[in-house]
């Protein structure tokens, strides 16, 4: 049981970086960005392929981040410059990335078993496999939360947040909202690809299908984090969605331990997210119904 929990926490920390990326689009920009399904695989594909080709894992990871930003740029350009709805723009990039990822990997998967990764650097100091994930994932997540807290407090970051809240107002204040959306999408997908690169290295493996359903996992983690750890302050919010990723992994590990068929996992996650997203509407509907007749006057 202890081993399972450690693994869940470790995996959750690697995914938490992806969830922070989803938070930036879904909560800050108010866009459901499906690009992530492709960019998480892109990150893993680029990083593992680079390592396989003999490059340093540091270079591979950095390049994965950059490639993710380009994926975000593509979605942002489709959405803001060509006026394609955000959801569809994300889907288009996601589908295009499927081919890109196959090109990058040269086949449907890449194995880097027994090759150096960021984690093997740490394992050299006598740290076990999962703890190397926890150390690197935890440090990186904390550093990113701090960096993003700073960034979204700057003039530029404030303008991006305001764009998600009220683009009309932001334009009236002389900010080019298109660029704000693009920058937000780039940061988000950069983080998602970075997370993908870490996940790929952690399992020494990248697979063309690994991004499938990742947006739902991201949203589930985000909602779990918000429900459990509240929404006080921007720093706490970023931290709580990162923690949400860990809690989500623990929940999954527990239901698997309880004997759930792994094939049902995606159905379980989708239902959880659907339930969580409908809570505000349902609770409002219940409140209206409970009001006695005649009291509904506005």
């Amino acid at each position: 049981m202890g081993q399972i929990l450690t693994a869940a926490v470790a995996l959750g920390l690697l995914w938490s970086i992806m969830v922070i990326g989803v938070y930036i689009t879904y909560r800050v920009l108010d866009i459901a960005d499906l690009t992530v399904e492709g960019s998480i695989t892109l990150g893993a594909a680029i990083c593992t392929s680079m390592i396989r080709a003999g490059w340093s894992p540091v270079v591979g990871t950095a390049l994965a981040f950059g490639a993710g930003m380009l994926a975000g740029l593509a979605t942002g350009a489709l959405h803001t410059k060509l006026k394609i709805p955000a959801l569809l723009s994300g889907i288009l990039t996601m589908i295009a990335l499927w081919s890109v990822n196959l090109r990058v990997m040269g086949s449907a998967n890449v194995s880097i078993l027994r090759m150096p990764t960021l984690f093997t650097f740490i394992q050299r100091f006598g740290v076990s496999r999962y703890f190397s994930w926890i150390i690197l994932g935890g440090l990186l997540a904390l550093a990113l939360v701090t960096a993003l807290y700073w960034f979204f407090g700057t003039e530029l970051g404030s303008a991006i947040r305001a764009t998600g809240s009220n683009p009309n107002m932001v334009r009236a204040q002389g900010v080019h909202t298109d660029n704000m959306v693009i920058i937000g999408l780039m940061i988000s997908n950069g983080l998602v690809a970075l997370s993908g690169a870490l996940i790929g290295q952690s399992q020494s493996f990248a697979d063309i299908q690994m991004g499938m359903g990742s947006i739902v996992i991201g949203l589930a983690s985000l909602i779990v984090g918000e429900v459990l750890f509240g929404k006080r302050g921007f720093y706490m919010r970023l931290l709580s969605v990162a923690l949400g990723a860990i809690i989500y992994r623990i929940i999954i590990a527990l239901v698997m331990e309880l004997g759930m068929n792994p094939n049902d996992l995606k159905l379980f996650t989708a239902l959880t997210v659907a339930a969580a997203l409908s809570v505000p509407y349902l609770s409002a509907a219940v409140r209206v119904k409970r009001k006695p007749a005649g009291a509904a006057r506005v």
């Binding site: 003039e155 809240s165 107002m169 002389g174 900010v175 080019h176």
Partner: protein
């Protein structure tokens, strides 16, 4: 002083080539002098809001030219023109970011038209300055600087939007029925504030209103629009002598029919 705003041959038609085609502006020519405070009235669909929105760059015009301070801005997008403009909208939700604090909203407005850099979004000195300014509004907002704007009432939000519009002194202040969504008492208060700000900074202003009393009370110049044209333009002493009855007569003469618009308030 020079002409602050020059509009030449401005035309705008919505839904061109469809059954819903509507000519909103038809060959508008207008020169606004520096320091003018113009009130604008007219029935629904007269083109008042469309004119303001064309000046602000929300809609690209079909024809014509717009110059602000001698600069031709006809092809400029909305965000670029913001350098010159302070704007308050009819909908109190539209002028502020609800998810952000009062302080953050003010800080965004103070940097209107400037490049957004990686400097901190609200500097330490700004906090005290904003507190003082909010105190002058007498709405109790000075103690809520770090509160979310979404929690404010419509009147408070509109007063805040007004403050944001003038925080960085605009060349031209555009007010698009900014008191129409408020209850009469709040509307009067916001209007009072508007007048105070405009007089204090001698702001060149275009204010659309549905309230004839307000249109007559305020400003040094009055425009009446009808079917996409400016049909009445009175200023100075002539405007000061104008009464509601005169306005109704002017409208009838200009449009050839009785004023039948119930949204135009006579009180």
């Amino acid at each position: 002083m020079c002409d602050l705003l020059q509009i030449k041959g401005l035309a705008k038609t919505f839904n061109r080539g469809t059954p819903n085609e509507k000519s909103a502006l038809a060959n508008i020519n207008l020169v606004v002098d520096d320091g003018d405070f113009i009130t604008m009235i007219g029935g629904n669909g007269a083109g008042k809001s469309t004119l303001l929105n064309c000046v602000a760059g929300v809609y690209p015009p079909d024809a014509g030219e717009i110059r602000i301070d001698e600069v031709n801005v006809t092809r400029w997008s909305e965000y670029r023109r913001a350098v010159y403009l302070g704007r308050v909208f009819q909908d109190p939700m539209m002028g502020t970011a609800a998810d952000m604090t009062i302080k953050e909203n003010l800080a965004l407005a103070r940097r209107r038209g400037q490049r957004r850099t990686l400097r901190w979004g609200v500097t330490a000195g700004e906090h005290e300055k904003y507190r003082e300014m909010l105190g002058e509004l007498e709405l109790g907002l000075e103690s809520r600087l770090t509160g979310k704007v979404g929690l404010l009432s419509g009147g408070q939000r509109q007063a805040l939007t007004l403050l944001m519009a003038i925080l960085k002194t605009p060349k031209l202040l555009l007010l698009d029925e900014h008191t129409a969504a408020l209850d009469p008492k709040t509307a009067d208060k916001v209007l009072d504030l508007t007048n105070r700000f405009i007089q204090a900074d001698k702001l060149t202003t275009m204010m659309v209103t549905h309230n004839m009393r307000h249109a007559l009370q305020l400003g040094n110049r009055l425009l009446m629009m009808h079917e996409g044209r400016i049909v009445v333009d009175v200023r100075g002493e002539d405007k000061r002598r104008l009464k509601v009855d005169d306005l109704l007569q002017l409208f009838e003469r200009a449009s050839g029919r009785q004023l039948d618009n119930d949204r135009m308030l006579l009180s």
